[in-house]
Symmetry: C2
Subunit: 212 residues, 2 copies
DNA sequence: TAGATTGTTAATCGATTAACAATC
DNA sequence: TAGATTGTTAATCGATTAACAATC
């Protein structure tokens, strides 16, 4: 069904937001919505919504609009939200622990199945009923559980080596919270999402000093 | 000195990355770099670097290139990294605690000066030598310390009300980790950086299913 | 001076918006 | 059928890249 035409990077980055807003509408009991109404709510243009959706196929009905539940499911399918990608966290420091305990992976099509740390004092402790494993268990764990996604919460200095190792173990995607820009050559074929919280905070600071 | 011409949103979002790479170069003892060399290292075009920098003024020397330390300082000044913006965290759950303990605020021109939580059991505990304060202390704390930035690590349901309250107390910038899209009307004049980690993870999942 | 590399203008490319015919 | 709203094409806008004159 999906035609996947002209799917640009910016379209993809907007899909999760559509998915989120459609979820809200659904929770409010809204069953039908037009591109104009959704645009107003999301603070974008109706043109953009229609253009974006049409990269993947016609999900609406002329003269009527879009069925909220249907559209949400279609976008969910495009994003792969029903897939339950096996996910591991590398590094059980503060951030790793926060992402283990705080984050609703199921909601985003993922399933946390392992947490690892090099520090032998940390490995062995538990976070939300999940035991932190030593890095020496990584190879056997991956061949057994075949996780898709690795969340990197390790120091910058370890990022290059660890990401190479994980790529060899079959990891397909890196959610990278380190300050290291993972090089695509190191992780052959895998995809990366660099979060770079520091960059985000600095962009915010710029805004304070340069309010137009 | 800075001319501030044609400074687009995308240019601003690239500035922190330039700053980061220049810091690395400095640490490696590199004193001089050309746009071509920097471009290669950062995986962008030399044209873009020159174009970006020229929004703010001529930081280079024709026939020579850019002095690393000087360029880094100029970009730092544009971003406001030397300012030490007072920063408070609202919500001392897992994420709030991680951001309190894990993050090097000084490095990004900020200074963490307070952590707040509604839960009376959490308020009173300490994180990295900083006492978590009850939300009832917020007003007096803000009039005394005048923080610029609020980091929102609270449930979505509280975001609208709390951000309105903070804006009235003089907060100029919101680093928003909630799943709520803060409306600009609520926080008159303040700037917002929505992090939306869930969106980021979903975009990553899309990548797994749709490797080109 | 000759070589190198910037600052800046012009050309290209892509993304967003507007318009409208198709159709429910 | 008439009204509404999509799907899609065309027009606009902005951002990126290429080119080159200025100049160190």
């Amino acid at each position: 069904m999906p035609k996947n035409e002209n799917v640009s990077k910016s379209v993809i980055r907007r899909l999760p937001r559509y998915y989120r807003f459609l979820g809200e509408l659904l929770a409010e009991g809204v069953t039908k919505i037009s591109s104009r109404e959704l645009a107003e709510r999301m603070n974008v243009t109706a043109s953009q919504i229609r253009q974006d959706l049409n990269c993947f196929g016609g999900f609406g009905q002329q003269g009527y609009g879009y069925t909220v539940s249907e559209l949400r499911e279609e976008i969910g399918a495009i994003l792969g939200v029903e897939e339950h990608h096996g996910t591991i966290i590398i590094g059980a420091g503060n951030l790793g622990r926060a992402l283990a305990a705080h984050f609703d992976y199921e909601k985003y099509g993922c399933e946390l199945c392992g947490i690892f740390d090099v520090n032998p004092e940390i490995a062995g402790t538990s976070i939300v009923d999940m035991k932190v494993l030593p890095m020496s268990d990584l190879d056997s764990f991956c061949s057994l559980n075949r996780p898709d996604i690795a969340i990197l919460c390790i120091p910058k200095s370890a990022a290059a080596e660890v990401s190479r190792r994980l790529a060899k173990l079959g990891i397909k995607a890196f959610w990278n919270f380190t300050h290291y820009d993972i090089s695509l050559e190191d992780i052959d074929g895998a995809v990366v999402e660099n979060v770079h919280l520091g960059d985000s905070l600095m962009a915010l600071c710029y805004g304070i000093n340069n309010k137009e």
